[in-house]
Structures are given as C-alpha cells and as structure tokens.
Subunit: 185 residues, 2 copies
Amino acid sequence: MLTETRSRIIASAIEVFNEDYSAPLQKVADNAHVTRRTLHRHFKDRNELVAVCEREMEVSCKKAMITAINSSNEPLVQLKNMLLAGIDCGAKYSFFHKLHQREGHTHTKKNKDCADYDFIYNSFTNIITALQKSGVINEKMTVQWIQNLHAGIINSTVNVSDTGKTSKSNIKNFAWNSFIKGIAP
Amino acid sequence: MLTETRSRIIASAIEVFNEDYSAPLQKVADNAHVTRRTLHRHFKDRNELVAVCEREMEVSCKKAMITAINSSNEPLVQLKNMLLAGIDCGAKYSFFHKLHQREGHTHTKKNKDCADYDFIYNSFTNIITALQKSGVINEKMTVQWIQNLHAGIINSTVNVSDTGKTSKSNIKNFAWNSFIKGIAP
DNA sequence: ACTAAATGTCTCAAATTTGTGACATTTTAA
DNA sequence: TTAAAATGTCACAAATTTGAGACATTTAGT
C-alpha cells in the first residue's frame, strides 16, 4: 500500500487526536482525504493507529530534539534550536509533550520512550541551569515553568500557523524572541 | 437538584472537553465524582451539557475580561489584568479561546457571544496598539501573534497548575513576566 | 492499453456510548 | 426521627462508532 497515503493518515490522526483524543475515525479519515475503509486497510484498529501515531511522534520529535541538542556546545544555540525544532514538528511536538505530561502516564525508566524523553528533559534542564548560572536566564524562574512556556510557545505557533495569516519564518522569529526575552533576568 | 453538583459537573466537563472534546460522558462523570445517571438527571443530553458549558465559559470569561478592561485607563494595567483574569479562569479560558478560534466556527456579529468576543478582541488590539505606539511593546510583532502568545501562556499556567508543583502566585508572576518581557521591543 | 495495486462504495454485525425507567440507598432539612 | 430530595445501582433499548467482506472504480507502472 502507498506509503504516502499511510503517512498522510498518520499526520492527520496526530493533528486530530492532538485536540480531540476520542474523535471518531471518520474525522481522521476526512482530514486525510481518504475513506474510513482505506484507513482500516492501513491500520488494523484504533489502537494500532494510536500506537503508530505515538511511535511516529516519539521517533521524529526525539530525533529533532537530539539533533538540536547536538547542534552546538553553546547552551543558547542549543536552546534556540530546540525551540525551532519543536516548531517544525508542530502538532507532533504538542502531542508528544502532552503525552508524557499526562497524569496516568506512568513514567518508568524501563520504558525506552520515557527514558529518551527523560534524556531530552534532563538535557533541557542542564541547558537552562547553565544559562541561569551565566546570567542569560532569570534564576528565579523554575525549570518546570520554563519547560511549560517552551511547550506553550510551540503550541501557539501551531495555532497561528493554522490560521495561515503569518509566514512561517516570521512565526519562528516571534517565537524565539518571545521565549528568550520572556525568560531573561 | 443541588446546584453544587450541577456546577461540579459543568466544571468537570469543561476540563475534560477542553482536552478531549469527544470524550465519553463516563469520563466527565468520573471526573466530577458522580454517576453517569446523575449527570443525565442534570442535563438532558450531551448537547445540553456542551451548550451549558459554552454558556458558562462565555459568561464567566467575558465578565472577567471586561472587568479587567475596565479596571484602569492604563493600557499596561489593563493588559496585565487581562492575563491574570485568564489565568484565574484556567481551563475555562483555554476552551473559550479555542472555541472562537476554531475553523468551522462562523463568527457573525449577529451571534451575541461572537459580538462580545469581538469586543474583547478589539479592546485587546487597541491596548496592544497603544502600547506599541508608546514603545512598551515591539512594533514588529503582529497583534495576532501577541494574542496567541497571551492564550498560550494562560494555557501553560493551566498545565503547570495541574502538576501542582508551583504555587499559584508564583505562576502568575512568571506568566506576567514572561509575557510582558516576551513582547517588549 | 493493460494489469495489478490502491482506493472507493455499499453493506452489515459487533462493540461502545447514550439516554432512561425502576427501585435502593444516602443526604438534607424540618 | 422522618419525609422529601438527591444520588446510586442495575437493566435495557436506541444511537453511534467500529471493523471487515464483497465488489466497483481509479491510479500507477510497464
């Protein structure tokens, strides 16, 4: 079966489930411009689709974030690239973040996905701490708040993009500006 | 029937529907610590519950926002109070904002709710424009971005509050700091 | 143009969600 | 304490969603 259709369905499902986790599959199918029958040919059932979406998010967000972390030794550059990577991932990143924050989601180190998420989170924490020490970031703000702001700003860019009234590169500029100035001392 | 139960169900529904619009009513009932049977005694059907939630959001968010707007003639004070009011409304405000942004939601001036939302939005725009002219806010940023950032930061506070690791007043400080510095020139 | 792969259409049974009746239990207020 | 109000429990039909079979139509590659 066509990989293109498959990935279109996955992208559609991530978009839809991101803001309506229990949405009927018809909605996902419509959004992907396929019939529900085609959707079911690609994915055995709802659970499989959800699982594949989660995998896709894990893999691609993780990859983007780790690339960003490895892009430099400069914490400020790393932080900026993590934000831009999140924006590029779009709804995928919003969902990814939500998923690991959800209550009921038991974070275990045995779960490889959680371990990877923790690695990213810890890297983020180290970057923030380093920048706080060097006086680039407000020391009074908690890492928790900064991480939520980070995810919140990425989410805002997803919403602005949906309306399509502002260009992608403008959005990225605004986002980075608002973020870094928003956490400055 | 007890008003207390009724409003608990409404609050629960707003919370649940905010992040999962198609969630089964069982989930709402559980969240409100009542049986589904009780939920149905208070609300004829799903549509009625959703409608009541929307009304509740409209009324209470609108009230809070208009109070904030009228709290001062100083644009900066107005802006701050609008943010704090949004934070106090919590999930209610997130949902309220989403609702009026949704594609498919036809914004007509005939619909009183939309007219009121437009009034709030226009006031927000005027405040931003005034602050841009007086050099308090970055003139390059679009009102659309600033409005999304505003909603995004409010949403971040909802997520942080859920974890309960940071105090409410700290959250408000962080939020206002991040917001106003994030849009500074 | 032809063939195979992919998707669409229509249909239907199974599973889930929804809404309600009947009656038991708990809560509230006099 | 007692009667009424509110909620819980169980059971059940209606509505919706889900998943899959059978066959028609479209699309892609040769």
